[in-house]
């Protein structure tokens, strides 16, 4: 019986981890290219969640169909933040960039609070109610869908970065901003593009969790901290690291919830975080940077 629970927890953890990976992917991409720890990442996810929520509530389009729209909105928002707020201070001390994204976070979160109140909102899709049964396993349908979409888009992003011209310019810029500028890459454009893609990723993750998670102005905090843990574990700036880290944290949280009472499962995550920071701040797949 115990074993059944454990397998169930691991499966749930993997499904959860796929979404974490997508959130972390945006964060790690932005860090990789611009060396910015984006504190507004959770707030951007919240915007993605509300976008999906309102499209569904007002027009009845479900979050999966409205994904392109949600991602478009988030892409534009992210690109604008980069272009108008972060670009001008890209040469400033690193903590100033961090504080700027903190300001953006404060603004977005409280704008949502102002516009839509602190109420927890949930979105009901009748055809997604219930769970799929596979042997002794029970898995919620929206979680499976979220995982599938997350995995697919991760793969798509990977191929995009690896094989397209634009993807290559992004990777070149991540390696060396000055060098990229020297060979004729419009670095500012790439920066805006990167921030836009990173935001679209996290917005997509937000939209994908709306069918089984609550939407509220400060919901981003939870995911922001987890995304930090994931990227530090995987290595800041590492694509593979975000994916593997996401799965590890998802499974760790899930098993922690099974074995520990209350919200102590979060303790497991933060303990991992601190240990990784102390003993291997470059993470599993990252490179040391200063």
């Amino acid at each position: 019986m115990r074993g059944t629970y454990l397998v169930q927890a691991v499966v749930n953890g993997i499904l959860l981890g796929g979404v974490y990976a997508l959130v972390a992917l945006g964060l790690t991409l932005i860090f990789g290219v611009m060396r910015i720890v984006n504190f507004a990442h959770g707030a951007l996810m919240m915007v993605g969640m509300y976008t999906a929520y309102w499209i569904f509530t007002l027009w009845g389009i479900n979050p999966y169909l409205s994904l392109p729209l949600t991602m478009g909105v988030l892409f534009l928002l992210g690109a604008a933040i980069q272009r108008f707020l972060i670009d001008p201070i890209l040469d400033a001390p690193q903590h100033n960039q961090l504080l700027l994204t903190l300001g953006v976070m404060l603004f977005l979160e409280n704008l949502a609070l102002f516009l839509w109140s602190p109420d927890f909102r949930t979105l009901r899709l009748p055809w997604l109610e219930g769970a799929v049964r596979a042997g002794f396993l029970l898995v919620n349908k929206p979680r499976i869908l979220a995982f599938a979409f997350a995995l697919l888009s991760t793969l798509a992003l990977y191929l995009f970065l690896k094989h397209t011209e634009t993807g290559k310019t992004i990777r070149a810029t991540a390696q060396d901003q000055v060098g990229a500028a020297l060979v004729g890459i419009d670095v500012r454009k790439v920066n805006a593009l990167t921030f836009g893609i990173g935001s679209a990723c996290v917005g997509m993750a937000g939209a994908l969790v709306t069918p089984y998670f609550y939407t509220a102005p400060q919901v981003g905090h939870v995911f922001l901290l987890i995304a930090f843990v994931v990227v530090v574990l995987g290595g800041l700036g590492s694509f593979t690291g975000a994916l593997v880290g996401g799965l590890i944290v998802g499974v760790g949280e899930s098993i922690g919830a099974l074995l520990l009472p209350g919200s102590f499962k979060e303790l497991v995550i933060y303990a991992i975080f601190v240990l990784v920071l102390l003993y291997r701040p470059t993470g599993l797949f990252g490179e040391r940077y200063e």
Binding site: G103, L113, L277, E290
Partner: protein, 338 residues
Amino acid sequence: MSDVVSAEVKFTRRSMSMLLLAGLALGGVIAFPFLASPYALRVGILIAYYAYLGQAWNILGGYAGQFSFGHAAFFGIGAYTSSLLFAKLGVTPWIGMFAGAAGAAATGAFIGFLCFRYGLRGPYFSLATLAFAEILRVIALNWRAVGGAMGVLLPLRESFWTMQFPEGPPYYAIIVTMLGGIMLLTYFLEHSRLGTYFVAIRESEDAAEALGVDTTRYKIVAMALSSGLTALGGTFYAQYFSYIDPNLAFGIDVSVAVLLPVIIGGVGTLFGPLAGSLILTPLGEVTRRLLGGYRGVHLMLFGAILVAVILYLPHGLVGTFQEKRRLGRRCSHDHPRP
């Protein structure tokens, strides 16, 4: 010869006017509780309170250059220690606050030891402190003995000994004294060897190390000092509001509130935190009063101000002002007017 004399006269005149200004300010601060309405007094208390917390953060973040994003950890330790000692054992907060400060300083030194020993710098240090604050929040949330999610409600017994008062003026006296104390401390720090080490570490850790400064040790000292002082602010909060819970004590919001006035006012400056608080606190109170039905407006405003300050005044208000004056003075030296 006459140049020297006139310079001296100028100097004394300047220091005289500074002295006069300081005297006026002090008089205003002392007279304020006698003249102000209860509401204005509350705002005054909060201004001093946020300036105090900001200055405590400033010692570590501004002078030693270590950006902590988890000062809620130390704030919470202070608030919880004094509150629990009082609520469970009847120990007066006057003692409890120093017990909390000692506990927070020790915790801060320990966290600092771990982080700095392993060479965590910049954003890695910020993230680590954030994680430690969250760990404490989760522990407080799940630990029955410290009240769990319900937090700690201070038993109401108004007297000097219990640090509970029916009206504002005593609280005002306490927090203004604390603010005065920490400003004096920072002033002496600025002119001390220790403060010089801090600034050297901030400007270039490698260079400081090369010159023989034991950077890890002094960063830990800065951490302990800043943490202990932050904890005193936590006790004040608990006494003033008579209630504390895991989110109020250890939440991210606290860590943000602690550093906001410093960034706005000027990182690593003596008057920065006070200047920042003088602007942000009344602004927050007024918007909350006018737009009370809409929650979050004041924080939205703070976010926008933070972004604007970073973009246009990266050294904060006081920092930018000092920079301008320094540049102006240097120019007048280089090009003496005929």
